[in-house]
């Protein structure tokens, strides 16, 4: 159609290098020793210390109390990612169903109440949110980590748009067949939304997994640390140390980025569809 110049490829290659080389170097450097990195800089080739570093990060890393390991943080991050994604899908599908398929008092008021949450991200109300959480005794708990993050209507907005595009004839047919609201929801809408649920699951899993500020505030007990929280503490240990544990920090970074990156690459098509059609 159009003539392709080598220049286009050059720009793309430069862009790809700019984005991907830092990730590659983090990965490669994590397999070298800290002393090696300290004296020679970052590496683009694999080293021989990889097994030892990852073994240490996954099982030995102590923290202040001595019982937090990389594996534990990995588990907490997974709980965070899955818990958030599943919670989001369940809550927002139900709410969107009520708002689209029912005619009831206050429906519009509720609609605005729920969608007003899109106005303000969590970051602008961290201090009062923290106070509320401590009044509810939810600090250092999985509930406290996950549930407050669900108070945003992104998913509801998405499912509302999707339900609106579902043909009206389906509901008419279901009603003629005598299906009630529950039956219609479980037997028609849920199976129909499978692709959408998968797409939103991917986006929300990444969002939950990548949370930083909230876990930072909510967890002082190290057994609830996620990998993101671990990054903060590994940097705090650095202050004053002779040669910082560059390799361990890189290993932690790799552990923290592999699952979400893998999800995006494997489910690329679905992920892009979900992202661009939901408009966040």
């Amino acid at each position: 159609m159009q003539k392709i110049k080598p220049f286009d490829h050059l720009i793309l290659i430069l862009g790809t290098l700019f984005l991907c080389v830092p990730v590659l170097m983090a990965l490669m450097s994590s397999t070298h020793t800290a002393v090696d990195i300290h004296s020679n800089g970052l590496f683009i080739t694999p080293g021989s210390n990889g097994y030892a570093t990852y073994e240490k990060v996954l099982t030995h890393r102590g923290g202040f109390t001595g019982d937090v390991t990389g594996l534990l943080m990995l588990k907490n991050s997974l709980i965070m990612g899955f818990g958030f994604a599943i919670g989001k899908i369940v809550l927002s599908m139900m709410a969107a169903y009520a708002l689209v398929y029912f005619r009831f008092r206050f429906a519009t008021v509720l609609f605005w109440m729920i969608f007003a949450t899109l106005l303000l991200p969590l970051e602008v109300r961290i201090m009062p949110s923290y106070q509320v959480m401590s009044q509810l005794h939810l600090l250092n708990s999985y509930t406290g980590l996950i549930v407050p993050l669900l108070a945003s209507a992104t998913g509801t907005f998405f499912f509302r748009q999707f339900f609106k595009s579902v043909p009206d004839e389906l509901l008419e047919a279901a009603r003629i067949d005598g299906a009630g609201p529950w039956k219609f929801f479980i037997d028609v809408l849920v199976p129909l939304s499978k692709t959408m649920m998968a797409a939103i699951f991917i986006i929300m899993f990444i969002y939950g997994w990548n949370q930083y500020l909230w876990p930072l505030l909510m967890t002082t007990d190290e057994s609830f640390y996620t990998l993101m929280r671990g990054i903060k503490s590994i940097l705090q240990v650095w202050v004053g140390s002779q040669i910082p544990d560059y390799n361990e920090a890189f290993a932690l970074a790799v552990l923290a980025m592999v699952p979400p990156v893998a999800v995006v690459v494997i489910f690329q098509r679905m992920f892009i569809k979900g992202l661009t059609e939901s408009d966040k």
Binding site: R103, V109, M127
Partner: protein
């Protein structure tokens, strides 16, 4: 939201009171579905979980932010004193707050411009090439999933004073880069990392916007405008304008809020002579400085700014749906 004097309302627009009555009874001028289930408890059961979460974790803290912004809390926890607008006056009057606000604005402009520009450039090129298009796409997108704190950590290594490649690069050109110590050096690091993290997002949206341009339009453009630049300027760019505007707002909110972890990793609670954004200041004053009233007042100021931005985005989104 639609009742502002800016919007040209038709003569048939219902009066405010009329609309309020409709709200009350749950009627809307154009219901979402022709057929709907009737009244009863069922819809409440469906909407209740979300409603509970929203009320407890959104409205309660937001209300508390507004209330405590009018009080000065005793540092030892013995009650609080009502001070009216004093916290706001303190915040807006302080030199530190204003310089943080200026930095935030500057940071937003630079990061947004660079991230959008590079994202658009890469999307245009990726849309053009045929050979290797999928590989480029996958590689460029993969960085999207990396969390901001991880990006901050990797970036920190690249700007490390002992062994960071960027530090060495700058040293080669005779500039000693001291990230975390020097104000502008830290700014350079923050901008680089924030832009790096946001490019994939913009790339995905621009590319999907480009690929939705019909082939017939492209071919017509190819005949009408020989020069690639003119074709881009007169045909592609106007068609991408809705996407670009949407992304503009998203990028501004990203730079204001989602860069928090990057700043936290690079600046590490050491605000001394380091740049920071307004959100980071809210966090520092509230959690490190224990100034709850001041922090809340800053929260409320931010809320107003963000709410305005989001309303702008919604109004626009509505329009986009019409033309879409």
């Amino acid at each position: 939201m639609t009742d502002t004097p800016l919007s040209a309302q038709g003569p048939t627009a219902p009066s405010f009171l009329h609309r309020l009555r409709d709200w009350w009874s749950g009627e809307t001028a154009n219901p979402v579905k022709r057929v709907q289930f009737g009244h009863g408890l069922t819809p409440w059961l469906f909407v209740l979980p979300q409603l509970a979460v929203v009320v407890i974790f959104f409205y309660w803290p937001s209300a508390q932010a507004v209330t405590s912004s009018f009080y000065i809390e005793d540092p030892f926890g013995f009650g609080s004193t009502f001070v009216g607008m004093e916290n706001y006056a303190d915040a807006l009057g302080s030199k530190e707050y204003l310089s943080t606000a200026w930095f935030t604005a500057f940071f937003c402009v630079v990061v947004t411009a660079l991230a959008l520009g590079i994202g658009l450039l890469l999307a245009v090129k990726a849309d053009k090439v045929i050979r290797g298009a999928e590989s480029y796409k996958t590689l460029l997108i993969s960085v999207y999933a990396i969390a901001p704190p991880v990006a901050g950590l990797i970036g920190m290594m690249f700007f490390d004073m002992h062994m960071g490649p960027f530090t060495r690069l700058f040293a080669f050109f005779g500039h000693e880069l001291r990230v975390g110590v020097d104000y502008w050096d830290t700014t350079i690091a923050l901008i680089t990392i924030s832009v790096w993290k946001q490019i994939p997002y913009n790339f995905i949206f621009f590319l999907s916007g480009l690929q939705s341009v019909p082939v017939s339009v492209r071919e017509a453009a190819l005949i009408d405008a020989r020069s690639g630049w003119r074709r881009f300027k007169d045909v592609t760019l106007p068609l991408l304008a809705p996407t670009a505007f949407f992304l503009l707002i998203i990028n501004i909110t990203y730079t204001m809020f989602d860069t928090f972890p990057i700043i936290d990793v690079i600046v590490k609670d050491k605000p001394a002579n380091n740049p920071m954004t307004l959100v980071y200041k809210v966090y520092l004053d509230g959690f490190k400085g224990n100034d709850i009233g001041g922090s809340s007042a800053q929260s409320v100021i931010l809320m107003v700014v963000v709410a305005a931005l989001t309303v702008l985005q919604f109004r626009f989104l509505e329009r986009r749906v019409h033309y879409g």
